[in-house]
């Protein structure tokens, strides 16, 4: 694929134009979905289950309905149409039906004049429960035949079992080559997306009996598709417009308040706004699957993998959500970007009465990555090898065959990534305050003084502090997999306004903070050679764009915008040929015409002697050229349910991190001193946005390594707040040095490779490896806790009851 203008277009592809929403967000003026308002609107509130598993004996809404200012109190009996929905399996009740299956499950919704009244009314609903024993242990859910079933109509608690078999790890002839065998178990806790803008939206009833929903989501059309049957409306009567999204990271793939607010609006014939508060938000969206993983790696004396076995259990919680696809990723990418001919991977996605889990940045690949990277370090240690060297030796490359039998097409430059990573400068040796310094100092730019482990807590002046270095590598599939045709649609329009050509781009693609609106305009400017490009609000008035997930929007919606622009360009040239046939001589071809600087040129670029033929304003006049195009990626195939073989993925992306940490080994506190990352992105489309993605992905991986976990006990969520669900602050995020490689993918638009997720994968194992190196402890569960790292001696578990 070639760019059609040889002179870079101002603010086009490869530039870093500022995002239109940037200043507004920083100054607090951006309108998020929680800021929506309509004349005469009501406020919705949700009553949620206090139990992880219980039978609903009785619901009495009369007291709530009788309260002044309350306009509707709805339960499952009031759902107009289909009573369940879901992204893959429609097993999730709109409101609980006869049974609740997780702590926080919606049971009833209320609309009232104001939020406080709505919340008080929700509390006034009487629900009588018969509490049942929850299924909270995913190992039991998977393998204990005596375990209760989360869904009585299913034969077991397994959402999906996906093995991947390649070669035979148990073959006798392999054993002679084996020098070391490492078997370990790993655990990943439940991470939350922790987006800052809580679930919110505004449902407005329309005159034709339908509903207009303004909502923060990741995929407008899949919301519409799930909502319409539940509301008993044809899809065209359920129109969605994207409202300002305050982060997503997968947590807005599943529906939250969409149907509830719409039901209330249809019932009351008034606009209804719903906004979750922070606590409710923790119950209002799916989380990252916790995982229990058992791995065996065998290597020969040179460090080459001989065979690998893995069993991964992924806790999907009460409803299926996207567990099916998460299992597909964990299974197919289960041993990472390494060549190995004899592999058995078994991945299970399970139903439990824990909070539902689904999409989160990295999507099944994150959990596996922590395990296989920890294994690579273990194998290296057993052989006395360097951790980078063992990764180099086993690294995939173009043409490598994955355990699924899929051959990697196009560049897979893992060795180049690692070679680059080790050339990056290390930080200076630790310079901690002298013992006796009265108190910690603030980090002054330019002055070399590190915050010690413990941060601002004044816990060490160097006592117990040891430094460690660790590496991590990850591989992530880009776009939807396993036969899913997640196409995108773009409508592009070119017209003259005020004498200037203006391109407008209309898609349903969700800007969730990643910078897609900026990129769509960059593509239009580059492809159409114009300076002015506007991106229209995303809504369902244009075809589906697919989800802002799987690092796929630059690829898919970028591809759709590019394709639509190409169609517009051809039509413009055709218009020029009809209007001004004399522009070209007989030996010149209309196919050599390029659009740049608001004009048609013969030849590409002024430097190569291109000739200006006509201004776009003259060619178009009052004509408007518009084209709508769909973009589809290459076909993929499902994994065989028995063997796990199949070309299931569209594209692969890789990144590698090095982490340098200081650990207070006596207190078990960690300070990440520096991180270095190398990522191959195929082609840099917008460096500023890209760097932001790599920063953010690294930070989210740091959070999983060191602090982010939704803690549950017997299915009950214990820390639904930002007081106790900790995410990294600016003082936790170290300087991040980046090297970005551009090995173009021959199959993708501009050669790009999806970039949002890979850094989230490799950041976590790099940090954990560095902490292990510092403290010498095995650390097989994340997020790490101080009591795992510190040697706690002499204090038995004498804990009493929990306070609040």
């Amino acid at each position: 694929m070639t760019v059609t203008t040889s002179t870079p277009v101002h603010k086009g592809i490869g530039g870093s134009p500022l995002r239109p929403d940037g200043t507004l967000k920083v100054t607090g003026e951006f309108a998020y979905s929680s800021d929506l308002w309509a004349e005469g609107m009501l406020y919705g509130s949700t009553l949620r289950s206090p139990h992880p598993r219980a039978r609903i004996v009785r619901i009495d809404t009369s007291a709530a309905a009788a309260m002044a200012g309350v306009h509707a109190v709805l339960t499952s009996a009031d759902i107009p149409g289909k009573k369940t929905y879901g992204l893959i399996a429609d097993d999730c009740p709109v409101l609980a039906i006869d049974e609740v299956r997780y702590h926080g499950e919606p049971v009833a919704v209320v609309a009232a004049d104001d939020l406080d009244t709505a919340r008080r009314a929700a509390k006034a609903i009487v629900v009588e429960y018969e509490v049942l024993e929850p299924v909270s242990d995913m190992r039991r859910a998977a393998f204990d035949a005596e375990s209760p079933r989360v869904h009585a109509d299913r034969a077991d608690n397994i959402v999906r079992y996906q093995p991947v078999r390649r070669g035979n790890p148990d073959a006798a002839d392999l054993q002679d080559r084996v020098a070391v065998v490492v078997t370990r178990e790993y655990e990943v806790g439940m991470q939350d997306q922790a987006f800052l803008g809580p679930e919110s939206g505004l449902a407005i009833p329309t005159e034709d009996g339908g509903v207009d929903l303004h909502v923060a989501t990741q995929w407008l059309h899949v919301d519409q598709e799930q909502m319409a049957p539940c509301l008993a409306l044809p899809p065209e009567k359920v129109q969605l417009t994207l409202a300002g999204v305050g982060g997503a990271f997968g947590g807005r793939e599943d529906l939250s308040m969409q149907i509830h607010a719409s039901m209330l609006a249809l019932r009351t014939k008034r606009p209804v706004k719903m906004v979750y508060d922070r606590r409710e938000s923790f119950f209002g969206h799916v989380h990252r699957h916790p995982a229990l993983m058992k791995y065996t790696h065998a290597a020969d004396a040179d460090g080459r993998l001989v065979y690998a076995k893995a069993q991964l259990l992924l806790d999907g919680g009460a409803y299926a959500s996207t567990t099916d696809a998460v299992v597909g990723n964990a299974a197919s990418l289960g041993i990472g970007p390494y060549e190995c001919d004899d592999v058995l991977i078994e991945a299970y996605g399970l139903y439990t009465n824990n909070p539902p889990c689904g999409a989160m940045r990295g999507f099944g690949a994150v959990q596996a990555c922590f395990a296989y990277e920890s294994q690579m370090d273990e194998v290296a240690a057993a052989l006395g090898m360097d951790p980078v060297e063992i990764r180099r030796i086993n690294a995939v490359k173009e043409g490598s065959i994955l355990p699924t039998g899929q051959r990697i097409e196009g560049p897979a430059p893992l060795r180049e990534i690692l070679d680059e990573l080790v050339t990056m400068p290390m930080p200076p040796e630790p310079s901690l305050p002298e013992p006796g310094e009265p108190e910690p100092r603030t980090r002054v730019p330019g002055e070399r003084w590190e915050l010690p482990p413990g941060g601002y807590g004044n816990t060490t002046r160097g006592e117990g502090v040891r430094r460690g270095v660790g590496y991590g590598v990850g591989i992530k599939n880009i776009c939807y997999s396993e036969g899913f045709d997640d196409f995108s649609t773009a409508r592009v329009r070119l017209e003259i306004s005020g004498g200037e050509p203006i391109a407008s781009v209309h898609t349903a693609a969700a800007e969730v903070g990643q910078g897609l609106v900026t990129l769509q305009a960059q593509i239009a400017r580059t492809e159409l050679g114009v300076d002015h490009a506007v991106v229209l609000p995303a809504d369902t008035q244009v075809g589906s764009a697919g989800s802002s997930s799987a690092s796929r929007q630059s690829y898919m919606t970028g591809g759709a915008v590019k394709t639509a622009c190409e169609a517009v360009r051809m039509e413009v040239i055709e218009l020029a040929r009809r209007k001004f046939p004399e522009l070209l001589s007989d030996d010149e071809s209309w196919s050599d015409i390029h659009l740049a600087d608001g004009a048609l040129h013969l030849g590409a670029g002024v430097a190569t002697g291109a000739r200006l033929l006509a201004r776009l304003s003259d060619v178009l006049g009052t004509d408007v050229v518009e084209a709508t195009r769909e973009y589809h990626h290459r076909r993929t195939n499902p994994l065989d349910p028995e063997t796990g073989q199949g070309d299931s993925h569209v594209q692969f992306a890789m990144a590698a991190h090095r982490a340098v940490v200081d650990v207070d080994v006596e207190l078990g506190l960690v300070h990440v001193v520096q991180m270095d990352v190398v990522q191959d992105v195929g082609k840099i489309l917008n460096r500023l946005s890209l760097e932001g993605q790599i920063q953010g992905g690294t930070a989210q991986g740091l959070g999983l390594a060191l602090m982010e976990e939704i803690q549950t006990r017997d299915g009950l969520v214990r820390n639904p707040s930002f007081t106790d669900y900790l995410i990294p602050t600016i003082l936790d995020m170290p300087p991040l040095n980046m090297r970005i490689l551009e090995f173009a993918d021959p199959n993708s638009p501009y050669g790009l490779r999806g970039a949002g997720e890979p850094p989230t994968l490799s950041s976590t194992p790099a940090i954990v490896a560095a902490v292990r190196a510092a403290c010498g402890r095995p650390l097989r569960r994340i997020p790490l806790r101080p009591e795992q790292i510190a040697l706690v001696e002499g204090y038995g578990d004498e804990g009493g009851e929990e306070d609040v």
Binding site: T459, L667, E787
Partner: protein, 281 residues
């Protein structure tokens, strides 16, 4: 919910007597969280933030009289020399925004066992000045102030006017363990204050019991073991001091940490603090 703004201290005391159910609010960094989470619905809020008299601090007879409306930021900027441990604790409170709003008196009134200022107030022997419209001022030593988890000795008609904290007469330290570098509730915390004139030791433990605690046995032990001229203490005695501090704690397992880790960490912090105190001498 009614919002009442008091224009003067007398005004505030009168309102609190008439409306004992009104929740006083100064910085709001605790109260607003509780309201937002719907953990409490007081009949009214009594805004103290406009009362001039509460916004000052003064030195009276060797102690700092810290007005109830003085923010943590001002403690850090204006009192780090006189009240070093309190300034250290103030630096670990929340974020800059929270430190601009939050107050030591507010911390006391909500009486959380995790309040960052509390161990320092215990270690320094601070006194809470509570006042009611009808009964006047009552001085409550801080070690009798905390009566239970989030409960304190204030009567329904009382408001905190000031906290009286002895000016440092020797080295002081405060340390707080949290699982991120800033803006974190303490997993546990420890404060120590030496009075070189009186040759006494004060300690305070946070987030490791139903209330903030003082390690009295550890204090008595250290008074005897410390060489008061050099502030040196034998390694064995320092280790013993650490154990005694840990023994004074009554921690539980919760989402922030385990009881056994808290005891371990307090021991480590106590031993380290002794080392730093020598450096300060």
């Amino acid at each position: 919910m009614e919002f009442i703004t008091a224009d003067s201290w007398t005004d505030a005391l009168r309102i609190k007597t008439e409306r004992p159910g009104a929740a006083p609010i100064a910085g709001g960094t605790d109260v607003m969280v509780e309201l937002n989470f719907d953990l409490r619905r007081p009949e009214a809020l009594l805004d103290l933030s406009r009362i001039r008299e509460l916004k000052d601090w003064d030195v009276v007879g060797g102690s700092v009289q810290l007005g109830a409306g003085v923010s943590y930021t001002r403690v850090i900027e204006e009192l780090a020399d006189r009240l070093p441990a309190l300034a250290m604790a103030a630096r670990t409170v929340g974020s800059p925004q929270i430190r601009n709003r939050g107050t030591v008196a507010g911390n006391l009134a909500t009486a959380s066992p995790a309040g960052d200022a509390h161990p320092v107030l215990l270690a320094t022997g601070a006194v809470v000045e509570a006042e009611s419209f009808q009964r006047g001022v009552r001085k409550i030593p801080v070690d009798g102030f905390f009566t239970g988890v989030k409960r304190c000795a204030l009567e329904p008609d009382e408001l905190i006017r000031a906290v009286v904290i002895p000016t440092a007469a020797g080295p002081q330290q405060f340390s707080k363990v949290g699982t991120r570098n800033a803006m974190v509730i303490a997993v546990c915390s420890f404060a120590i204050a030496l009075d070189l004139d009186a040759r006494t030791v004060g300690t305070g433990i946070g987030s490791a019991g139903p209330t903030p605690l003082a390690a009295r046995a550890a204090e008595r032990f250290l008074v005897g073991e410390l060489d008061w001229d050099t502030l040196k203490v034998s390694e064995a005695a320092a280790a013993r001091f650490g154990k005694l501090v840990a023994q004074a704690a009554q921690p539980i397992d919760d989402v922030r940490g385990t009881a056994s880790y808290r005891k371990h960490a307090l021991e480590v912090l106590a031993v380290r603090a002794l080392g730093w105190i020598r450096g300060c001498a």
